[in-house]
């Protein structure tokens, strides 16, 4: 088992099992909660993928559907079973991954073993599929009247023709109706294999004992396939860059502006540094502490619904700003103008930003939950947690300012949903 010193009194243990499963163990002695996350590399973007030399298509919402049915096996519901052990179990699906997680305070070894046993072989029944289909249809309806969701999806639709980037993770009622056992079983076979998963455990345990348990669990007898599914996104957007639509039923005007980023200019940086310089750059210019924000606020162009979002994937990245506004067209033009006239970064703010990130990172270790969540996220983004502070402290102002060059001025899009 490999061992990495993360902080003066924090150690991470790591091993890749023979079947390809990556296991991360972070002991937290003195705390009461155990947390376990099994992360599968399949999310809402799995609409089409390459598997070996073949290409497959899936209805939107397939990964999310699997998440719903995967707690049931042979008439046994893992959620009901875990409640008997006083363990909470849940799952979530994002655009890129599906996470299954539980927390417990006692009998962790036994519960973990049961968890691994369950995920080593799941038989999805027709009955479970029909029950969950009904529940998912109700879930989809819940978000139908959310204005932010509508505008965000519309913006991404304009920015990227590739629907894997924007399609609703749960799919539509129609998509959900198309999903059947055949599709689910094939998707499990392709995606739910050990080399497409990671296991992250935190809590007051002995790492050797837990690793030994994992190696003797049925999960370790699972085999990985010859191929892993591959998803590569397409970058093209639609030719119509700016959308303005009126909906008289709205009480407010809502605007979202997005710009694509060119990641190729960051190749000299380590993964965490690349992410951080982009985040620090846009925080400097567009966070609620920024000069631009102050200007927009003073001119009454935004309200407290103002927000920013940065998405950085391996093959695409964008930055977006949204707000309610009384003058959405004016705000749109101001934001585009701001993108074109970004100045230099002040040294004292840059230093403060570095210090802030160091403090927040240390804070992740104040609970078994937060370190489990952060560690899983870091691994998903391929960030080395043990050199994080060092990498942060070695970022230069020049690196951050480089982000200016990554803004693709000819790839700025906007959506306004206006009330009149």
């Amino acid at each position: 088992m490999n061992k990495k010193q993360v902080l003066i009194d924090e150690t991470l243990y790591y091993e890749k099992l023979d079947n390809g499963l990556e296991v991360y163990l972070h002991p937290k002695n003195g705390f009461v909660d155990f947390h376990a996350t099994l992360q599968v590399q399949i999310g809402g973007n799995a609409l089409s993928y390459q598997y070996g030399n073949e290409f497959f298509n899936l209805p939107a919402g397939t990964a999310h559907f699997l998440e719903h049915v995967y707690f049931e096996n042979d008439g046994v519901n893992l959620s009901d079973e875990f409640s008997q052990y006083n363990a909470d179990i849940n799952a979530s699906t994002s655009r890129e991954v599906t996470k299954y997680y539980f927390s417990a305070q006692e009998n962790f070894d036994m519960i973990l073993n049961r968890f691994l046993e369950h995920f080593s072989s799941v038989c999805i029944s027709e009955k479970t599929i029909e029950k969950e289909r009904n529940i998912i249809e109700k879930e989809i309806l819940m978000y139908d009247d959310n204005l932010y969701t509508q505008v965000n999806e519309r913006l991404l639709k304009q920015m990227y023709k590739d629907e894997r980037i924007w399609v609703d993770i749960a799919g539509t009622v129609k998509n959900v109706g198309e999903i059947d056992k055949l599709i689910l079983d094939r998707t499990v076979n392709h995606f739910y294999q050990p080399n497409n998963m990671i296991l992250v455990l935190t809590g007051p345990f002995d790492p050797e004992t837990i690793m030994n348990l994992i190696k003797h669990s049925p999960f370790n007898t699972m085999k990985s396939n010859q191929y892993s599914p591959q998803i590569n996104h397409l970058q093209d957007g639609k030719s119509k860059r700016h959308i303005y639509e009126i909906n008289e039923k709205q009480n407010v005007n809502y605007l979202m502006v997005g710009v694509k980023l060119d990641l190729s200019i960051f190749e000299h940086l380590e993964v965490s540094q690349k992410r951080l310089v982009i985040i620090m750059f846009f925080e400097y210019f567009f966070s609620e502490s920024s000069e631009n924000y102050k200007q927009l606020k003073e001119d009454n162009l935004i309200n407290y619904m103002y927000g920013t979002h940065i998405k950085i994937m391996d093959d695409y990245a964008y930055f977006s700003i949204s707000s309610e506004s009384n003058k959405p067209k004016v705000l749109k033009n101001r934001l585009i103008d701001m993108f074109k006239h970004l100045g230099l970064i002040e040294k004292k703010i840059f230093i403060a930003s570095i210090r802030s990130r160091v403090g927040h990172f240390i804070g992740y270790f104040d609970s078994a939950y937060s370190i489990n969540y952060s560690l899983t996220d870091f691994i998903k983004k391929r960030i080395d947690i043990s050199s994080y502070i060092n990498n942060v402290e070695n970022i230069s102002m020049k690196d951050v300012e480089l982000t200016k060059k990554s803004i693709q001025m000819n790839e700025i899009y906007s959506v306004i949903y206006a009330r009149n």
């Binding site: 909470d88 309806l141 819940m142 959310n146 502490s289 230093i351 802030s356 240390i362 804070g363 104040d366």
Partner: protein, 427 residues
């Protein structure tokens, strides 16, 4: 863990020493009696102080300062226990032993909060008109945004309909009083906060007591003439309704949002409160609750359904969203579950699972820095000597089925609130 309470410069100080965390938290609380007339100002003054400070001229200067303190996190909020209200300023900052830095972060943290609270921008001894206009404007914007987000709007209107113009009005902002806010009225509330309210300081983390004593002594001047909070009720009076009200509100929505509000006439009886918290878990507090297992899993009518007990307002709320055609079926299902509980249809297993769940919740909260701080503040408001996990567990374990049934029989339905699409009324 043994709490240390002391008085420094007339201020009550409570230390909660715990060694395992890498951060420390410092909370300065100002306690007063809830008052509907000044409820808006009490909430707004926190935001005003954060954004209109004499030393940190702008919010970006304030944030820069927090970043320099290694990303210290500031939270200010209002909360209440019955009629006892607290304006809380809370700062979380990293323990200096994890940094290669000589700066005394504890001293900096205290000085920062002192500046934040005592050094606002003023003009002729009043908080400025500009600052007042801004916070009032934000309150109006909040109301406008709430009206756009259907889920929030439904909840907001449900709470308004059930509140029945009660003392602390339950929700912020209160539109009826917004027009009355001036820089004079907000200054008056602010002056009361810094001069009259009972001020207490709580510090949690790996504490050096002597160092903290000195920092507090050097930072805060003598505090005199604070109010007494002993007479303030820790439960909240409400106006009981003789028959349940049924309210239907129409909107452009794709799904029906339903709220059932049950009232429970309990005063500050700790045993009743503990029983009600457990009863809420059994009814709809988690994934093995009666509501979840029956209305979602068995009847398959909803994606989510839960109950939430709000002691401060003596209110048990049950909320769910569903297709319009299923509204009545679900409401009847909920009422049947409450009736079942009243006649003692709760199994031993349901009680045992709910107890385990609740105990797990308290253990987890007491395992987190902010959770442990809040548990101790609430315990202090209850005039106890600090939160003791073992006592809490023992108390939960002794709750009987008879006690649960007895409290359930005191629940009465106050409001059924339907937030639905006009065309889809289910007759």
């Amino acid at each position: 863990m043994k709490l240390k309470k002391k008085i420094i410069n007339g201020i009550e100080v409570i230390y909660i020493p715990v060694k395992k965390y890498k951060h420390m938290m410092l909370a300065i609380n100002f306690f007063s009696e809830a008052d509907a007339q000044t409820f808006n100002e009490r909430n707004m003054v926190l935001d005003l102080l954060e954004n209109h400070n004499y030393k940190f001229k702008t919010s970006d200067q304030l944030n820069l300062h927090l970043d320099m303190l290694y990303g210290a996190r500031l939270k200010s909020f209002v909360f209440n226990k019955g009629d006892l209200m607290a304006n809380n300023f809370n700062l979380k900052f990293v323990n200096k032993k994890y940094l290669n830095d000589e700066e005394n972060l504890i001293e900096s943290a205290f000085l920062f909060l002192k500046d934040l609270i005592y050094n606002p921008k003023t003009y002729r001894q009043l908080l400025t008109q500009k600052a007042t206009d801004e916070v009032v404007q934000e309150a109006y914007e909040l109301l406008q945004t709430l009206s756009q987000d259907k889920a929030s709007k439904a909840y907001f209107h449900y709470m308004k309909s059930i509140s029945n113009q009660e003392k602390n009005t339950l929700i912020f902002p209160n539109k009826e009083y917004l027009k009355q806010i001036t820089n004079h009225s907000i200054t008056k509330v602010y002056q009361s906060l810094i001069q009259k309210d009972l001020m207490k300081i709580y510090v949690i983390g790996d504490i050096d007591e002597l160092e903290l004593d000195k920092v507090i002594e050097d930072t805060f001047s003598d505090r005199k003439d604070s109010i007494s909070i002993d007479h303030i009720s820790l439960s909240h009076d409400y106006n009981p309704r003789e028959t349940p009200q049924e309210i239907i509100e129409y909107d452009d929505v794709s799904i029906s949002r339903i709220f059932l509000g049950y009232r429970l006439p309990i005063t500050n009886n700790k045993r009743d409160l503990e029983i009600m918290i457990l009863l809420n878990i059994i009814i709809g507090g988690y994934s093995q609750s009666k509501l979840f297992t029956v209305i979602r899993e068995k009847m398959q009518l909803v994606y989510y359904i839960y109950s939430m007990y709000d002691h401060n307002n003596s209110l048990l709320t049950i909320n769910f969203e569903l297709a319009p055609k299923d509204e009545n079926k679900a409401i009847e299902g909920v009422k049947e579950i409450i009736s079942d509980v009243r006649i003692g249809r709760i199994t031993k297993e349901e009680i045992a699972l709910a107890k385990n769940y609740l105990i797990k919740y308290y253990k987890s909260s007491a395992d987190s820095l902010s959770g442990l701080l809040q548990l101790n503040i609430l315990s202090d408001m209850d005039k106890e000597d600090g939160f003791v996990l073992e006592d809490k567990i023992n108390s939960i374990m002794t709750i009987s089925k008879e006690e649960l049934t007895e409290v359930a029989n005191r629940l009465f339905l106050d409001t059924v609130f339907r937030f639905i699409k006009k065309d889809d009324v289910d007759e």
